[in-house]
């Protein structure tokens, strides 16, 4: 006999222990939202029913933790995140796999992610540093408590936003909604529960590191792709303008015509390798973001 909504959620969590952590988070949030809404509505209709009777009836309609878990597992098997695709089949030739990166939305998504991570990294970093230093310095005032709670909540919001970006661009399944925030608790208790939450601190670290990482990602992408484009464009530019490849004093050096294919080939290879590198970094970053931002 399940005695409280919390107990139901704990049992559901146990049933889903082998599922994707984002699915678990969705399932817990759905169950909590539904069970609490159903309890309120049932108590209005049947005020004489005891808490336990109401809960038993509500769970009877919603399904046991086992039934609910199996419904999520069933759908999880059929659902794939936005960009998740099956990996290229093993029998493909090495060349096909090497060039196949251009047809992989994950590689393009990762490329875009690395470009925008400079901007998001700066925003996160500024927010975290400002919020953290203000929270600490306001701690001597009474309203400092309110501010700290506001900052903690804003971090959860940011984590959710970053989760959406990571899922959309890197194809790693992330939670679709924030975990339930308990009502009817004092501000102090709320702050305390936030302070002991491991994921709040991990997301703080994540946002802090996002700026240096963003700078590295951005520079890497810009350097590799401009190098590649430059190499490919050099022979072409030379034929339409009189601009030399190299000029020392009055001496101007032009590329010999036979080197054009070599430049095109090297430029193209650098671009392709950079696409592979972006995809690898994107996958690594997706796993890292999931470990730091998703509350189990």
């Amino acid at each position: 006999m399940i005695k409280s909504v919390e107990e139901y959620l704990d049992l559901l969590k146990v049933e889903l222990k082998e599922s994707d952590s984002a699915t678990v988070q969705d399932a817990l949030a759905d169950a909590e939202e539904h069970l609490r809404a159903a309890m309120v509505s049932l108590r209005e209709k049947q005020p004489q029913a005891s808490e336990q009777e109401a809960l038993t009836l509500v769970i009877e309609q919603y399904g046991s933790p086992e039934e609910t878990a199996s419904a999520y597992k069933e759908v999880e098997r059929r659902t794939v995140p936005s960009l998740a695709r099956t990996a290229p089949a093993r029998q493909d030739s090495a060349l096909k796999r090497f060039l196949g990166v251009y047809d992989d939305p994950k590689a393009w998504g990762a490329l875009l992610y690395m470009l925008i991570s400079l901007v998001t990294g700066i925003v996160y970093f500024t927010w975290v540093v400002t919020g953290l230093s203000l929270s600490i310095s306001f701690a001597i005032f009474i309203f400092g408590l309110l501010f700290a709670v506001f900052f903690a909540v804003s971090l959860r919001g940011l984590a959710l936003l970053e989760g959406r970006i990571v899922e959309g661009l890197l194809g790693v399944r992330m939670p679709r909604r924030p975990l339930f925030i308990q009502k009817d608790v004092t501000w102090f208790e709320r702050l305390k529960s936030n302070l002991v939450d491991k994921h709040l601190w991990l997301s703080l670290v994540y946002f802090f590191l996002q700026m240096p990482l963003g700078v590295i990602y951005f520079s890497l992408v810009v350097t590799l792709f401009t190098l590649s484009l430059g190499l490919m464009a050099a022979p072409l530019v030379q034929t339409i303008t009189d601009f030399p490849m190299l000029s020392i004093g009055v001496m101007k050096y032009h590329l010999p015509v036979w080197s054009t294919p070599i430049f095109l080939f090297v430029g193209f290879m650098i671009w392709t390798v950079a696409m592979h590198l972006s995809r690898a970094i994107g996958q690594w970053h997706g796993r890292y973001a999931k470990a730091f931002l998703v509350t189990e």
Partner: protein, 119 residues
Amino acid sequence: MVDSPGLTKKFQKELNAGIASLVLLSVLDQSREPMYGYQIARLLEEYSGDASFMKQGALYPVLHSLESSGLLESKVEPSVSGPPRRYYEITAEGREMLVTWQGVWTQMKSFVDRAIKGG
């Protein structure tokens, strides 16, 4: 000895797998406003009368899967009592898909009816 309740339950579950998506899309298509999970569950309870076709908890994963396919969209809004609620709304793609699925369902229904009646 045939485990008749068990087999019936299994049969029901297999039937529900596709129907749930059609039912949820239809309900959200008819609704003028976005609806949250419990609201949808209550409405379906009304439609099903005394018979219970599926557990309410099984609706939510289907809603998520319809959302990730782009047929629904959702937003979370705070509620007066209790946890924030996720409101679902049908998208233009969802409406198009629903028309196709309704066609499939009508054909399927007449096929099954004929098969059961035997011609």
